[in-house]
């Protein structure tokens, strides 16, 4: 099984999707000769030509809007939005058009558009390059939202997103693009369903739910918690819409405690949704309130202080301490 970075795994997923189905095409800013600002599409224009790896004009609404038109004719466009903070010019097309066309056509039309968005902080970048806007999209019915935390998922989530007849947004954790891992491109194994959560570390005393860039952080926190004698289970959420509440509930029924961690601000974030659902489904199993770890209610801070904003191992351990205090 080859070992590759997350960026290379997604690149391989895109290449294999282009090779498997002539209706697949990529569109985005600088994705051709440059291979994208993160080189995720590197080499694909040379291999598949400029008609299938399209360097688009610099216009996000145009990228998503024209992709909708292409999909209405049977194509499967895969759009790259250059950075999380630049998706908003396309917000109208994504939420009022892409998300709703299947419903408003009473199921007659499908718009299988995939939108890839590098997201999250921790790379010391400038304004609008470190955000986590996933809740804004998860709130919109009609979209599916997934986020890989490792290269194997990066490959298979890319393939599954493109195969889906629903519009799928893939939030790619940009600070993990260089994370290496084994990728089996012939057998998805447990990654076959991108909409299921994975228990990535078993434990008995508390559960930490994390996704995307925070999965390695949550795993490190769980490891650190063993020093205090706590056995912490870690769930990689993987899918943000739908959310696999069954896997979370089963874990909480076992552990009795839940911490949810994401880089996005906690207010109105997915952690709140998870806390609410778990309290409805597993209230009597809970030994403590569900505790959220996330960004503050402020614009993403400047790079020199992002370390104080981003949830890290200590922030997750502090949340676990609060949960264990009950």
């Amino acid at each position: 099984m080859p070992t590759m970075t997350l960026a290379k795994a997604i690149n391989a997923g895109l290449r294999d999707a282009l090779a498997a189905d002539e209706m697949v095409l990529l569109m985005g800013e600088d994705i051709g000769s440059l291979g994208g600002v993160y080189r995720v599409t590197e080499g694909l224009k040379a291999e598949f030509g400029e008609d299938r790896v399209v360097d688009s004009p610099l216009a996000e609404s145009g990228i998503v809007g024209t992709s909708i038109g292409l999909s209405l004719r049977g194509y499967r466009p895969v759009d790259e939005i250059q950075f999380d903070g630049f998706v908003f010019p396309a917000f109208n097309q994504i939420t009022t058009q892409l998300a709703k066309l299947h419903a408003r056509s009473a199921g007659r039309l499908t718009v299988p558009v995939t939108i890839r968005i590098p997201y999250g902080g921790g790379i010391g970048s400038v304004e609008h390059h470190s955000e986590s806007p996933e809740a804004l999209f998860a709130h919109t019915a009609g979209l599916r939202i997934i986020t890989p935390s490792n290269p194997h998922d990066g490959y298979w989530m890319t393939r599954r997103a493109i195969e889906s007849d629903d519009p799928v947004i893939v939030f790619e954790p940009k600070r993990r693009y260089w994370l290496k891992g084994e990728v089996d491109t012939t057998d998805p194994g447990a990654s076959t369903d991108p909409f299921r959560a994975h228990v990535v570390r078993e434990g008995t005393d508390a559960t930490v739910v994390a996704y995307g860039p925070l999965v390695p952080v949550a795993l490190a926190a769980a490891e650190a918690a063993t020093e205090d004698g706590h056995s912490v289970e870690v769930i990689d959420l993987r899918s943000l819409s739908p959310i696999d509440f069954d896997t979370i509930t089963a874990s909480v029924e076992k552990t009795g405690r839940l911490v949810v961690a994401h880089e996005a601000p906690t207010f109105g974030g997915l952690g709140g949704e998870i806390a609410s659902r778990v309290s409805e489904r597993a209230f009597l199993s809970l030994e403590a309130p569900v505790i959220r770890v996330g960004g503050f209610h402020m614009p993403y801070p400047v790079a020199k202080i992002e370390g104080q904003y981003l949830p890290d191992i200590d922030r997750i351990l502090e949340a676990l301490d609060r949960a264990f205090a009950y």
Partner: protein
């Protein structure tokens, strides 16, 4: 398929495009702006322009067909407005005054072309064979669409202004790819198609129109931007949207734009056919500004007396597209009283049928709507649907209990 699509390198000198545009002769100047017009306000036909030959090639049957459809859609529009006033529709979007712009452009399309309307293109829908009663489902509150766009290549109405315009460009890019794939595979690509993107003077200010024109120009997409300038975006006059005639904007993107008298069905048809043929043959987009007038309100929720003068309305009534064309048909001997009486009766029948259709619409079903949110199974929708059905079934039990009690 490489090499079959137009490259994004400039293979046209923009000056040539401008020369092409200038070579089109213009018969009429409206407010110091050239405008393609074949029929003047009195219905007199003017020969000698680039487009008059095309119009002259239409048979009497085709000419009468254009009138018939304009009259039919006007009658339908009156009926729909009445249905709203009578409380049977929540809202109606009248198109009175824009019959020539819509029937002329719609009749210029071929079956393989694809049309992206706004929410006012009832006349275009008629030319595409959409069952007109289906248009009323949206306004009755029973559907967000009602018709199957794949049957008529007439897309669903889009209420978010200009959002459908990039869809049109993307669809045109798909047609390019279809043709290239067919050529690469040695298959017959069929008749080449093109796309029409409708929008209005108000929506022309939306960023999506700009982005669409950039994409269409860069990829030479086979799309015709058809802007009905009906002078008013609800209460705001067109001059607030643009300080120059809208068709001039095309120059900035590098493709031809022209203004046509939107109340002259022959000119609209000729110009749109030219633009579509140009697009189908791989020469890229055209912007047509159909200069017309919304004789009625923006929607039935609107009151034009608050923002425009009746003097202006009267001026435009004198340019009415339907009466103008009737004068032409009579003067040229293409139609007589019997024809016009037949059309009027046919319009009344259409109106009666549409009214009947509206009143017979089945009420919508929430469970069915929930089932259409996603194309593939979705656990949250499934969970909420199950809850909804169980909750509603509780009321059903209560209703049944009440009914049986009432039997005593």
């Amino acid at each position: 398929m490489a090499g079959h699509l137009p490259t994004t390198e400039f293979d046209d000198i923009p000056d040539e495009l401008l020369d092409e545009l200038e070579s089109l002769s213009h018969e009429r100047t409206e407010g110091h702006v050239n405008m393609v017009q074949l029929l003047d306000e009195e219905g007199r036909f003017h020969n000698g322009s680039h487009f008059s030959e095309h119009a002259r090639s239409l048979s009497g049957e085709e000419l009468r067909g254009l009138y018939r459809e304009m009259a039919m859609i006007r009658r339908f529009d009156v009926e729909a407005t009445a249905l709203q006033r009578q409380g049977q529709l929540a809202l109606w979007v009248p198109m009175r005054g824009q019959e020539a712009a819509q029937i002329g452009s719609g009749r210029a399309t071929q079956p393989q072309d694809y049309i992206f309307p706004t929410y006012r293109e009832h006349g275009v829908a008629l030319t595409r064979g959409v069952e007109l009663g289906e248009l009323l489902r949206i306004f009755r509150g029973v559907s967000n669409g009602g018709w199957d766009p794949t049957e008529t290549n007439f897309h669903l109405y889009t209420l978010v202004l200009a959002a459908q315009v990039p869809h049109a460009v993307g669809y045109a890019m798909a047609l390019q790819r279809d043709a290239a794939r067919a050529a690469a595979g040695g298959r017959d690509a069929g008749e080449p198609g093109a796309v029409v993107a409708y929008f209005g003077d108000g929506a022309s200010s939306e960023g999506d129109v700009h982005e669409s024109m950039v994409f269409a120009a860069s990829f030479k997409a086979p799309v015709v931007f058809f802007c009905q300038n009906n002078q008013w975006a609800i209460s705001v006059p067109a001059q607030v949207q643009s300080r120059i005639p809208l068709h001039n904007r095309a120059k900035g993107y590098g493709f031809p734009g022209l203004r046509v008298d939107g109340n002259d069905v022959l000119a609209v048809r000729a110009v749109t056919e030219w633009a579509l043929e140009r697009a189908r043959s791989g020469k890229g987009p055209v912007l047509i500004e159909a200069y017309t007038y919304r004789q009625g309100a923006h929607t039935t929720a609107d009151d034009p007396t608050k923002y425009r003068l009746s003097e202006e309305e009267q001026e435009w009534l004198a340019k009415d597209p339907v009466t103008r064309f009737e004068k032409f048909l009579r003067a040229e001997g293409h139609a007589d009283d019997a024809f016009f009486a037949d059309v009027a009766a046919e319009g009344d029948a259409l109106a009666a049928k549409s009214r009947k259709d509206v009143l017979a619409f089945e009420p919508p079903n929430l469970a069915e709507a929930m089932g259409n949110v996603y194309a593939e199974w979705h656990p949250l929708v499934a969970e909420e649907l199950a809850w909804h059905l169980e909750y509603e079934s509780g009321f059903k039990d209560a209703e049944e209990a009440n009914t049986s009690e009432g039997g005593h």
